[in-house]
Symmetry: C2
């Protein structure tokens, strides 16, 4: 693009390139695709971005993303309110909802404790979680990621929660269903062996 500059196009390419997983060539392709849209389509795309940003905020109870005061799960009267499943990110809620089995509530921490990235307990929605614990809550399930950070966060929270008289559990570790034993890593296999259950 030695001497060929079209600033609005370059700006759009840059914006796409700043998104995760999008390289320069893909960003160009997306920008051209936007130029090929009708004016109405382009406007509706731009509006979807600003509207999502303006209307979506945290549920006042579980800190998940929602466009209402409470999120659909907290609003629902068919969910088991004695169960709280603690996850790191809103997308983890979607993943568990997709699985379809879980019928309790959630709590979204918006991250995990990570001293290396400078994220301490104060930056997470831990205060909000502790405020929810009362006699009606029987069990808190730690569904943070199976990483060093997720593990540390689960340990930290369980030490805070147990004195409040609530049962704290952790998602089971093991070999993924449909996976191949041959490709499972050593730690996962060790955990799967430790957590073996009687048939």
């Amino acid at each position: 693009m030695a001497q060929y500059h079209v600033p609005p196009l370059e700006r759009l390419v840059e914006k796409f390139e700043s998104l995760p997983g999008i390289g320069h060539k893909s960003a160009q392709r997306l920008a051209y695709h936007v130029l090929d849209m009708t004016a109405a389509e382009a406007k509706s795309f731009a509006d979807a971005i600003t509207q999502a940003h303006e209307t979506i905020h945290m549920c006042s109870l579980c800190c998940n993303l929602t466009d209402g005061e409470l999120c659909p799960v907290c609003r629902s009267d068919t969910r088991d309110r004695s169960l709280i499943c603690v996850v790191e990110e809103p997308k983890d809620v979607f993943a568990i909802e997709r699985a379809g089995d879980y019928c309790g509530l959630y709590h979204v921490l918006h991250g995990a404790i990570s001293p290396l990235s400078g994220i301490g307990p104060d930056q997470l929605k831990i205060k909000e979680l502790l405020a929810r614990i009362d006699d009606s809550v029987e069990e808190v399930i730690m569904a943070t990621n199976p990483t060093v950070e997720g593990e540390a966060t689960a340990m930290y929270l369980s030490r805070l929660l147990k004195p409040l008289g609530v049962k704290v559990t952790r998602l089971a570790y093991g070999i993924p269903v449909g996976g191949d034993l041959e490709y499972a890593d050593e730690v996962t296999l060790q955990r799967a062996m430790e957590g073996r259950q009687e048939l």
Copy 2:
């Protein structure tokens, strides 16, 4: 996502999913990334889309995309005006400019003749190309894609142009047959430019 619906988020995911090469999971990831942006960043992203769409139009001479009356190449006084390189799409101009060797002008057809897709000569910027041919133009280089459609378009144009007393050449087959000009590497494009032959 059985009972979990956040309409503005779903709308944004749908918009991303409608872009080329973006599946559902990637669209979700991009949507979450947009929600993680600051309000100013999200607005600037949305503005880049609408502004690119509003300000970019065709160069009145070569039909390439530009935000001015003429595109930077047609505006430049260092380009060789006796040479016109005919390409299918604006992104092909970027590809040739990236190779850096070519110093003439361009003409963007905005497609190729393709009876199967119902695209005939009238839908392409052929009238505009013919209107540019006068005594000052010595050579027209066909740089349409090395596909059946691009080849047919080059043949069609050469039959229209030769009677006007202009030399018509075709990019050499340094470019891989069946490929796409956009993805050709710089060296291949330079070789193809050097080896161009009269039609």
